[in-house]
Amino acid sequence: MSERTGSAENFKPAKEEPLKEESTSPKRVGLFVTCLVDLFRPSVGFAAVKLLEEAGCTVEVPMAQTCCGQPAYNSGDREDAAAIARQTMEAFEEFDYVVAPSGSCAGMLKKHYPSLLKGTPFEARAEAFSGRVHELVSFLVDVLGVTGVPARHEGSVTYHDSCSGLRELGIEKQPRKLLSSVEGLELREMQNSDVCCGFGGTFCVKYPDISNKIVEEKTASIEKAGAATLLAGDLGCLMNMAGKLHRQGSSVEVRHVAEVLAGMTDKPAIGGGGR
């Protein structure tokens, strides 16, 4: 296995369970919106809904969801993280699938809830829940077998592999596969697309100077790729890179990959576009 997709316990590429039976009734998907999409960029949520509906799913959005609990979990606060995990599992109990437009949040639900709730009465439930959770783009490609999208996007894009999606869930080829089906789109790979952008959740505010040094390297790679638009599958990383690009006066537009795949780029890019 290459360095890009790790192999130890926490970082196994997702093994998809094939559908148990080919049923004709539409699949019921509960959309885990993610807190950042809910608050900062609802467009990504609507793009996800469109993609899922186009692929034949019915999509519902449980109102009892808030955040995946990662800020608590990664700050060492297991109690709050576990309470949020139980609450999330409860809210999504009734769905065939739980889909999130974020590798990081999907990774939390899929990979970390089971270890967080290990040894509690919720252990078995977390394991079962884990099997139903998917990141949006890998769900479309790996579970639903989508091979292309009917979208159009004139221009060049470059794609950043967000860490959790890449190394916890093995998301690397899926977004590129779907992007290659978008009419008019040219993918210009950046160097070191698999290197962290320096966001790291609370890391970017706890250690702003280090985070800044890392995102500077990233924006240099982005600029060097020479694409008009930067895409990724995680809004946290996107806001970090967009915020740095804007501070640097860059003209690169930044969007979530789902917006392009859903053909919903009529809305302004993150932060209302470039300069």
Partner: protein, 479 residues
């Protein structure tokens, strides 16, 4: 070595502003990453080798006491002596005792992180024994009065111009016209100075990459050959090694060797892999008269059976730091103690206490690249998270952080309240941004806006808009 990890933040800031350091780091990271990748790609069975290397260490750690005792018996049987050292001080005293008994004035040293951990050089100097580092990188930083910034490349933070300057400063007999502009000429100069030291030294000290229980052998891997001279020329050879270096058999050691150099430098094997078993035997052409092994615990046995147990599989290849964006940004010295990078962020709190080293496991983006390249499959991010949990339990994180987290968690655990609060705050924040759609600064968001702008929320929350959409649908159905 004095622990400076509490000053991590300031040290990191200085490192980022240090242009010379940044140039050196920039070169280093490209080299290491590319070389490892090439070596790993060339070996289809590399993943299987990782798993087998891991299994060997897992098995050994399960039976560590037995293998250590077996190792000790074999060392004694081959004519060597074993000194058990529970603490760094015990180890230092053991080394000093051997030096005194040998009447040693000068000791040569092969590269060893363990002797850094026990701060042996400073101690020996105070006791009137002169330590001479013989690894080129170690020699350079010894001249500069520094500590290693990388576990396999101690002088990684330096450029060759700085080394030339140091040599001209210290090697006073050096003709001014001598060319020292190339790595080769620098190496030649170091060799010229070091060669006589091997013969003057009464004691040679090395570390060990492996201790083999089956045979009582210690193994070092080096690229310069200085280790061999250090351990064969002086009358006394001291091996200083920590207890988790033991492996059951020579076969096991050679299995792990297949992942070690590839992960470290991208070499198939290091230039020298040197095995030492006891002192010189009758009829041997060379070798020391005395062979001592100092087995150091220094807190490791208390990691066994805890959530940090797996850290003891570490073979010190440096791949984790070679691939770490934080290490690349700040270099090794910012970490403030012996072991930098992700392995240091897990090990340092174990050895010196999380109250002193708390910054280290926090200064990670959890990008997971370290774990993905670790030849021993050590779940480094998971263990850093465990350290954050210990900190949180003990209330060691800053009050502002705890308050912020508590405030957020209060709402995150109450979806109804969360909806209410966000449906008021988000449209307000969005409106505040005006036409520009970016915040250049915002109260309570200084950590973010110090270096980057914050995009304003689009408008209302997704949940607000979704509820409207669903209500509209319902009305459509009813009509």
């Amino acid at each position: 070595m004095e622990i400076q990890s509490p000053q991590f933040r300031e040290k990191a800031r200085k490192a980022i502003a240090d242009e010379q350091l940044q140039r050196a780091m920039g070169k280093a990271k490209i080299g290491f990453v590319g070389k490892r990748k090439k070596a790993v790609d060339a070996l289809p069975e590399f993943e299987d080798l990782r798993s087998s290397a891991r299994a060997i260490k897992d098995h050994t750690l399960e039976h560590l006491d037995l293998y250590l005792e077996a190792y000790e018996r074999k060392v004694i049987a081959s004519g060597g002596q074993v000194h058990w050292a529970e603490t760094a001080e015990d180890a230092r005293q053991a080394v000093l005792g051997i030096c005194r008994a040998a009447g040693a004035r000068t000791v040569t040293k092969g590269k060893s992180m363990i002797t850094e951990e026990i701060a042996l050089n400073d101690f020996l100097e105070k006791e009137g024994v002169r330590p001479v580092e013989t690894d080129l990188g170690e020699y350079i930083i010894q001249l500069r009065g520094e500590h290693p910034s990388h576990i396999i490349g101690p002088a990684l933070h330096l450029n060759k111009e700085q080394v030339e300057e140091d040599f001209r400063r210290v090697h006073t007999e050096l003709p001014a016209g001598r060319d020292l502009s190339q790595p080769e000429s620098l190496l030649g100069e170091a060799r010229h100075i070091l060669r006589p030291q091997y013969f003057q030294a009464d004691v040679g000290i090395t570390g060990a990459n492996f201790l083999v229980a089956e045979t009582g052998t210690s193994i070092i891997v080096t690229n310069e050959g200085n280790g061999d001279l250090t351990q064969t020329l002086p009358r006394v050879h001291i091996v200083v090694a920590s207890i988790e270096k033991v492996v059951p058999t020579l076969e096991d050691a050679s299995q792990i060797l297949r992942v070690l150099a590839r992960s470290a430098t991208g070499q198939d094997m290091s230039v020298y892999t040197t095995l030492s078993t006891g002192p010189r035997r009758p009829g041997d052409p060379d070798g020391p008269d005395e062979y001592h092994v100092i087995l150091l615990d220094n807190g490791r046995s208390s990691m066994l059976g805890t959530e940090f147990h797996e850290m003891l599989r570490c073979i010190r290849c440096g791949a984790c730091m070679n691939h770490c964006p934080v290490y690349h940004a700040v270099g090794g010295h910012a970490y403030g103690w012996v072991y930098p990078g992700p392995m240091g962020s897990v090990l340092t709190p174990s050895l010196v206490g999380v109250d002193k080293a708390g910054h280290l496991p926090n200064a990670s983006t959890f990008c997971g690249r370290c774990e993905s390249v670790c030849p021993m499959q050590i779940p480094l991010p998971r263990m850093m998270r465990h350290w954050r949990e210990r900190e949180f339990e003990r209330g060691l994180n800053p009050a502002t952080q705890r308050f912020g987290l508590g405030f957020w968690a209060f709402f995150a655990r109450r979806p109804g309240l969360y909806r209410l609060a966000t449906s008021m705050a988000i449209p307000a924040l969005s409106g505040l941004a005006g036409r520009e759609r970016w915040f250049r600064s915002l109260p309570f968001a200084g950590g973010w806006t110090r270096h980057r702008d914050l995009p304003a929320p689009e408008s209302r929350t997704f949940m607000q808009q979704w509820r409207d959409r669903e209500a509209l649908k319902q009305r459509g159905k009813m009509a």
